[in-house]
């Protein structure tokens, strides 16, 4: 494994742009919501969690598939989906990835490596195992990567899938984004044990805890897990500790004293990477600014195009159940 400095030198510029794209993509939705947009439904944003998206989904190869939760824009973007078609889906437009049938919680594009998002917490985890099983049987060398929240770690679907993945020695990397909350409930208040990453061990899935606000660390641990998976050595569970800056969904930022304090934004993954690059003389701060300007420009255009697209024809609701 390359050392940290080498990685930053090699990938820093790209990561900065990718992190910024995710951030700006979501900021635009947040701003739109704040402005009282009447065309925007509920959106669950992962602002603050970008390093998981980029560190995990940014290094997948063609044929790998992720399944994501209700809070999945970041990993989808990092996997390479088109922001315009994502916005269009979020806005219920005909040009969206699912023709407006899915919305923010159900964006999918299997052809580009996003097998599906989910409205059901934990619901997409078993599917990712099946993806890995197919990859193994067909010898493609690909992996299935379920990305889910800390809340999903308390679902039966998660535990059952851990076990079956271990039994099948399937090329799965389980990625838990522990952002400290499930909706409005602090993770610690409803989650037993010394850490979600330890939950795999009893099922035969080794676990790793990683600073999920450090894109380098996430990248490194994900790379190791991918190597294991592709080498036929079985599944790994990665717990990425991160922070959800916004409310559960936009417009819903309720905090409650000690039980649920407003989150700190100290760990900002973009600022951290930029600072590290600065220290290495790689001009992180300047590049971050440039990246933001560039993202803004592209994503504003994407948003505009999405808004300009028509709504789907009502009759299209009647088709598409069966082949």
């Amino acid at each position: 494994m390359e050392d940290r400095q080498e990685l930053v030198e090699k990938h820093g510029d790209h990561w900065l742009r990718a992190l910024t794209d995710v951030r700006v993509f979501e900021l635009q939705l947040a701003e739109m919501h704040k402005a009282g947009s009447s065309v925007l439904g509920a959106v669950h944003l992962g602002i603050g969690q970008e390093a998981v998206a980029v560190g995990v989904a940014g290094q997948l190869i063609p044929g790998d598939q992720i399944t994501v939760s209700h809070r999945g824009h970041g990993p989808m973007l990092a996997r390479g989906l088109d922001p315009e078609r994502m916005y269009a889906e979020i806005l219920g437009r005909v040009s969206g990835y699912c023709g407006g049938k899915g919305g923010s919680m159900h964006i999918a594009c299997p052809a580009e490596g996003v097998a599906g998002a989910n409205g059901i917490v934990g619901g997409g985890i078993p599917m990712a195992l099946g993806i890995a099983k197919a990859a193994k049987e067909l010898g493609t060398g690909n992996v299935g990567v379920p990305i889910f929240g800390d809340g999903a770690a308390n679902t039966g679907a998660f535990a059952e899938t851990l076990n079956l993945a271990a039994v099948w020695e399937a090329p799965v990397v389980f990625v838990c984004e522990n952002n400290g909350y499930g909706q409005f409930t602090p993770t610690d208040a409803v989650t037993g044990g010394p850490g979600i990453f330890t939950r795999g061990e009893g099922f035969g899935v080794p676990g790793v805890e990683v600073d999920g606000e450090d894109v380098v660390a996430v990248h490194v641990e994900m790379a190791a897990a991918l190597e294991r998976a592709r080498a036929g050595e079985g599944p790994t569970l990665l717990e990425c500790r991160t922070t959800r800056w916004h409310g559960h969904h936009e417009g819903d930022e309720r905090y409650a004293g000690e039980y649920r304090p407003a989150p700190s934004r100290e760990g900002d993954p973009i600022k951290r990477l930029a600072a590290e690059m600065d220290e290495l003389g790689l001009e992180g701060g300047a590049k971050a600014e440039a990246a933001e300007a560039d993202s803004r420009k592209r994503l504003e255009a994407a948003m505009e195009a999405a808004l300009a697209a028509p709504e789907p024809a009502p009759e299209t609701a009647m088709t598409g159940v069966y082949v």
């Binding site: 699912c98 049938k101 899915g102 409205g119 917490v121 409005f184 409930t185 039980y259 789907p312 009502p314």
Partner: protein, 328 residues
């Protein structure tokens, strides 16, 4: 501690607050009532809002996202001296806990020949609210078929208050459904108690019976009002109790009018609408003067984009068209 027998009518005049008030009254009167579910301290669903302030986190308990475990736990707790209330945010989430709900809670009493009594209430939102296919099912037909559960689905604050109250006082497992779109629906709570199993004829008319559930009942009433101006007498039977299935009350209205339209936000196949229609075709055939029309969600899923969602969910125009059809 105030008496469990007080009959104070709720001051709320909106639907979700009426449910919450019925819960609060019951919790005040009975320490054995605990309320658990996801994010209920925050009151994500308006049916739990503010309860933690009065009753504290020992009785208003945030759970992990483990619907199966906490529903199943409610069975054990209810059978052993507590009277738990469980919130499941959306009735689509019943599916992750379906075995516990239908194969454990619903039949523990029968299988043990009456040895288990499980006084528990499940509160859940049901129906579409912009969250697309996986959140939006009107899932009560499956629960009606599963058996063993009492199910009510109020469409007015009055029904909401009294049926929730009755649910909480019942010694059976009861599911109280509520429609997000009606959470703020206004209406007076009259001092006329309702019981589990009651349906309510909310509009009287002589020409056609419209059986409708939840938001569909609200829409049916609007249509009835409009058609009344045309001189068409629409009787709206608000089927606010779904299980056990209220056969007699269903049959009574169509016996008077001779025509029936059934409106349901569930998918058509094996829906509550189908059950109502089949019941009429069996028990009131001789009174029927026209085919029984069902207006329900076609056998697709609730799509996200608003124009798509509106297309598959019965609208007032659909109800009106069905009424005119059976009157033609």
């Amino acid at each position: 501690m105030s008496s469990a027998n007080q009959t104070a009518v709720s001051p709320a005049n909106r639907l979700a607050p009426a449910i919450r008030d019925a819960i609060a009254q019951q919790m005040r009167g009975d320490d054995r009532v605990l309320f658990w579910g996801e994010d209920i301290r925050t009151g994500v669903m308006s049916t739990s809002q503010g309860l933690v302030d009065e009753f504290g986190p020992e009785r208003v308990i945030d759970t992990p996202i483990s619907e199966g475990a906490f529903l199943g736990a409610a069975l054990g707790a209810a059978a052993n001296g507590l009277r738990p209330i469980v919130e499941i945010m959306y009735s689509s989430f019943f599916y992750v806990a379906f075995d516990q709900l239908v194969n454990q809670i619903g039949r523990a009493r029968y299988m043990t020949d009456g040895q288990v009594t499980a006084p528990l209430t499940v509160i859940a939102a049901t129906g579409a609210s912009g969250f697309a296919a996986q959140h939006s099912d009107a899932s009560y037909p499956m629960l009606m078929n599963a058996g063993g559960l009492r199910i009510v689905f109020p469409s007015t604050p009055h029904q909401a208050f009294w049926l929730t109250r009755a649910a909480l006082r019942s010694d059976d497992p009861v599911i109280v459904l509520n429609q997000p779109a009606l959470a703020g629906a206004k209406g007076e709570i009259r001092d006329e108690p309702m019981e589990l199993g009651d349906v309510e004829v909310t509009t009287h008319g002589e020409d056609v019976s419209v059986y409708a559930i939840g938001l569909m009942a609200v829409r049916a009433r609007k249509v009835a009002k409009r058609l009344a101006e045309e001189g068409i007498g629409v009787e709206v039977v608000d089927v606010c109790s779904l299980s056990p299935f209220p056969v007699e009350a269903i049959v009574a209205s169509v016996r008077r009018t001779g025509r029936a339209v059934v409106v349901d936000e569930a998918r058509l196949a094996c829906s509550a609408a189908s059950e109502i229609s089949a019941t009429i075709a069996e028990a009131a055939f001789d009174a029927l003067e026209a085919p029984i029309e069902r207006v329900a969600v076609p056998n697709v899923f609730i799509p996200y984009a608003p124009p798509l969602e509106a297309h598959v969910i019965p609208q007032e125009a659909d109800i009106e068209a069905a009424i005119r059809k059976v009157l033609a």
